[in-house]
Symmetry: C6
Subunit: 268 residues, 6 copies
Amino acid sequence: VAAITVGFAGADLANLVNEAALVATRRNGDSVTLPDFTQAIERIVAGIEKKHRLLSEQERRTVAYHEMGHALAALALPGSDRVQKVSIVPRGMGALGYTLQRPTEDRHLMRRQELLDRLTVLLAGRAAELLVFGELSTGAADDIAKATALARDMVVHYGMDDVLGPVSYADVQRRYFGMPDGIGPPGATGFGADTAQRIDAAVLELVQEALDRARAILGCHRAVLDRCADALLARETLDADEIAALTGDLAVSSGTPAERRDRRPVTA
Amino acid sequence: VAAITVGFAGADLANLVNEAALVATRRNGDSVTLPDFTQAIERIVAGIEKKHRLLSEQERRTVAYHEMGHALAALALPGSDRVQKVSIVPRGMGALGYTLQRPTEDRHLMRRQELLDRLTVLLAGRAAELLVFGELSTGAADDIAKATALARDMVVHYGMDDVLGPVSYADVQRRYFGMPDGIGPPGATGFGADTAQRIDAAVLELVQEALDRARAILGCHRAVLDRCADALLARETLDADEIAALTGDLAVSSGTPAERRDRRPVTA
Amino acid sequence: VAAITVGFAGADLANLVNEAALVATRRNGDSVTLPDFTQAIERIVAGIEKKHRLLSEQERRTVAYHEMGHALAALALPGSDRVQKVSIVPRGMGALGYTLQRPTEDRHLMRRQELLDRLTVLLAGRAAELLVFGELSTGAADDIAKATALARDMVVHYGMDDVLGPVSYADVQRRYFGMPDGIGPPGATGFGADTAQRIDAAVLELVQEALDRARAILGCHRAVLDRCADALLARETLDADEIAALTGDLAVSSGTPAERRDRRPVTA
Amino acid sequence: VAAITVGFAGADLANLVNEAALVATRRNGDSVTLPDFTQAIERIVAGIEKKHRLLSEQERRTVAYHEMGHALAALALPGSDRVQKVSIVPRGMGALGYTLQRPTEDRHLMRRQELLDRLTVLLAGRAAELLVFGELSTGAADDIAKATALARDMVVHYGMDDVLGPVSYADVQRRYFGMPDGIGPPGATGFGADTAQRIDAAVLELVQEALDRARAILGCHRAVLDRCADALLARETLDADEIAALTGDLAVSSGTPAERRDRRPVTA
Amino acid sequence: VAAITVGFAGADLANLVNEAALVATRRNGDSVTLPDFTQAIERIVAGIEKKHRLLSEQERRTVAYHEMGHALAALALPGSDRVQKVSIVPRGMGALGYTLQRPTEDRHLMRRQELLDRLTVLLAGRAAELLVFGELSTGAADDIAKATALARDMVVHYGMDDVLGPVSYADVQRRYFGMPDGIGPPGATGFGADTAQRIDAAVLELVQEALDRARAILGCHRAVLDRCADALLARETLDADEIAALTGDLAVSSGTPAERRDRRPVTA
Amino acid sequence: VAAITVGFAGADLANLVNEAALVATRRNGDSVTLPDFTQAIERIVAGIEKKHRLLSEQERRTVAYHEMGHALAALALPGSDRVQKVSIVPRGMGALGYTLQRPTEDRHLMRRQELLDRLTVLLAGRAAELLVFGELSTGAADDIAKATALARDMVVHYGMDDVLGPVSYADVQRRYFGMPDGIGPPGATGFGADTAQRIDAAVLELVQEALDRARAILGCHRAVLDRCADALLARETLDADEIAALTGDLAVSSGTPAERRDRRPVTA
């Protein structure tokens, strides 16, 4: 139940091309087409389809709302990567559903606001569950892990917490003793206790704020959320066009991030 | 003295099939029957019967109440997996008795309330000992370990503690320094002291609440508990039908969780 | 100077049988008799007799009172294992004396009160020294280590401390990071500071209470203690019958634990 | 997006000579010229040019202001190494742009003020982003890591924090137990908690002060910053002469540090 | 500059016999005599004489008072081992002088008071320096290490601190996780912070009290101390008889500990 | 930029003799003379001369004042080892200059005051920089490391801090668990938090006091300091006689420490 942003580079890219060629071969295609690439991406990112993994009706509803939560938050936040597909067909590696985002342009620098938007999309699955069912499930564990990792990077690598300042808290241990990575005098953390606690608090603030923001966004678009979740339960997979047709009033999903930024919706 | 929920997958499933085939062979059966599978499950989950391990009468009574505690709590909580068998025949691996639960459907997502129910069933053995004998024994050690692990997952992986929020506290260490699992700069816990203490407190709250809830449930059904424990002491093993006959007023043990949910009893 | 409860299982049992056979062979016996087993147990548990290790008279008196402290506490506490032999013949492995207890029945579950009794017996050697000589000696080091280990298990494995609750504090480290035993990211204790301190405090409370209780018991039976210590100094070894003859007013040493429980003496 | 001061010694110097010889060979040159050395330095320090890595227009603007921030701060601080080149041509190893400083003389001792100036230059990239875009980006991660390392050395090795005094906090662990580097009794940090926290606070103070100072400098020269960033966006690379032409009113970039010190500008 | 109590056992004893035989051979003796053994003990315990190591006159005076401090404290405390020899002839292994004590009987149990006496003798060297020169020197480092180790054993192994109680604080780490000695999950100390601090405080109290006591004893016998130090400076070595002649008013140095206990002097 | 006290022993002494023989051979000398030994000592202690390492004029001035700071403090403190040579010729291993002290007698015991004097000499280089330039430089890093190590030994090995008392805080870790050096259960520091912090504070107090004392000494002799630094800048090396000629009013540099002690100057 994970929000996935696809970006390939180097060896991964080579792998993608091979996989797409295999897909094309399997369908006896003359050339590798865009659908071949899409299918290859899904296989690599979410695993092979596992149609025989039968979820209960309640589980399917939870997954459907969870995935549409990711998708609608991404649509509502103009700085997010474009939503290409939402699916509740279970796949390998424990994925019960997934939302596929594809970046419209390569990114090399990320602004703080863009990272906050990404956090919000990651937590929108849980936000949808809270909004619709009023209860937490285990399905957000992977999203939580990803959001925690991103928020921690913001605090620890990118100097984006006001209290902790423009300081790197990441490799104190290693350079401090001038030793090769991963080998060092044990026990020397290099952090004060207040620092360690502030890192935790800063991460929590970022993630909690993102969850609250996702709930606010989905609360504003509850009718759209219900409509999309119903459609997803019926069809199991929705592509970008189908989603656009269902979310007319949120039709901010096309164009470049820069274009979308100009028509940013009320989401605070 | 453990509450066991059976769920097999992958290699375990293959192992189960082999074991059931062996059981059928041993009894010279023509085909592998459901009883063969049940016996195979018991061998795999609780070990081989050790009838020669002689418990004192007091120990047998303690075990009987302990196991019926698990079973009655599972019956009383509609979200729990179905109780299939309760036994006080000692088996290998230190098990003095066991309660076998079999899920009526495969589960992929668990709601918070369902996890709380599972915690309650795990602690209902100790609750029964407290209720009947007014004293703790060593027999709950394994239940306590399982309940602690589950409660910790709720707090640390699933973001189910309000104070600690939707943050993963599980693999800070590993990803923080970008190193392979199990190798990292020693001493860097990645947790603040308040965080570490709150994790402990949150786990304790969950487990303590589950114990209190189990005591309340068993207190409401004390007469049934005594009747079942007596039957278990007499017959050593009770199957689902025998339990149902003994617990008429708790007859919520059949049907799917969804059906049972609708006739949820008063439990705090 | 250790209170030893004998219980053999598996490989240890095989070892005992071999050792007893050797004893019988050495005395050219036709068959392995019960005395052969007793001698074998002593060799295995307390080492070979070292008569040439000469203790000063003061040391012998200290050891005699220490050992009779263990023995009388075990006699006075009906839930304790039966005292079979008390000796002040030094043996290998540093033992200056020992009290041999043999359980009258196999135990699979222990109640909290039984564990408290066991703690009391373990600390009764030190209690006797305090009572008689008014001073501590180094002779209780092994008892203290054993009592600490037992008290810690009560707190950490068996959930027997009210503050720490029905939570396992034992393998947080290991399962937390999903790594094999003994290999894990150093520095991550998984305990909050308050938890660690409460564990220490709970252990101390249990052990201190047991020492106080042992002192109260021995204080009530001071005359018996003196009489037994004198006899032990004179004869060097006392068996169960000799002890029973000397402790008539404490004649609660025979029968099963259940029988003895009914005639429980006043012990605070 | 890193401020780089070039200084070669020993093996690095030999490597530089080889690389410059290769550059000369590739262009079929008769001798190794200064431009060959410059090109060799860039290859070694910032990696091979990656012109095909396409940044968005917004990213290019961010990088251009970031790099000019480094360059202008270095020009404004008379104790800094001379700016030789600024580039926004992406190179290997993740560098989206770079500012090349070359020391006008070898340095063996650094005064505290010179180190503070170096910190200020390191953080001037982030300062420019804050000033112009009002938002933080991920582009300063490497600068932050370098500034943290330098500030930590000032505190821990050079005794430059008033509270922590002329004490070395760097190899307590190692020499304390008289063991070879990197091998020591784990867990013994040798730091008190207050010490560890003060080290963190002292590092934060140094780095934060440097960021504030960089913002003040760039705020004073905003017009020059805009002019230079525009030129850099247009030409992609600016050399020392081009920068000097654009920053006439900051023309303090030539001469030795001692000469420049005499005409030190207003920098708070 | 160490107070040394000699006790040999097992392999050490065999080594002693060999060494004594070598000494006898070197002097062409017909048999191994007691003086041969004494010389062998000194070689083993304090190293070979290093007469060519020239101490300054001030150093020799410091050493003489230091060693006589050990000796007089041992004489004044009836529970101490007998002083056999005091020397200021430097020997190997850094020893600038030594006081040889030989136990009059083998010890198997030590009472708390006897351990306190031993601590007092260990710190009496430093006490003499403080009393006579009013200043500390580096010469007590080895005594301090030994006293610390003994005091820690009293607190941690022997349960001799009232606050920490009859609890073993020594092998928490090892048994806690059920692993072989020395291998365990790093970072898990098993101590609460208050416990760790109390251990330190208890050790400090014991050692400080012993130092104060040693100063009081030597203060009472200052004239004897001066007289003995002068004699030691003149003769370099004093044996038991010579010491007895010099310390007539302290003539408590002969007889068994039990005898000496009866004429215990005033020592606060 | 280090204050070096020369003392050779054992293998180091053999090495020195070999080196001096080589020096003599190189100059075709018939015998090894005292100048050969001096040159050998310098090669061993400070590395080979590196005349081609060109320092800026400002750096040379800093080094000259730094070294004369060491030398004058040593001259002013009668307990210090004799200053034999001061040089600002750069040598290998990063040394930009050095002050060579040679002990007039072998030392086996050091009094607390002598260690404080040694600390003062170590920090007098930094004191000179502060006094003359009003600013700290990186040049004192090695002095700081040495002073920290010495102060820590005073606190941790020699029991010279009043609060921490006559307790060894050095090898708690190792002996505590009875394991060989350097191998032990990680994470178990054996120190309480207050202890660890007090160690840091005690070290800081000693080092800070020494720096203050060095500043007071050099402040009293500022004119001499300037005169000597000028001479050193002119001649690059000053030997004991040249220094004595320049520091007439400080003529306390000859004779034994005991002689010098009698004419101790005013140094606060």
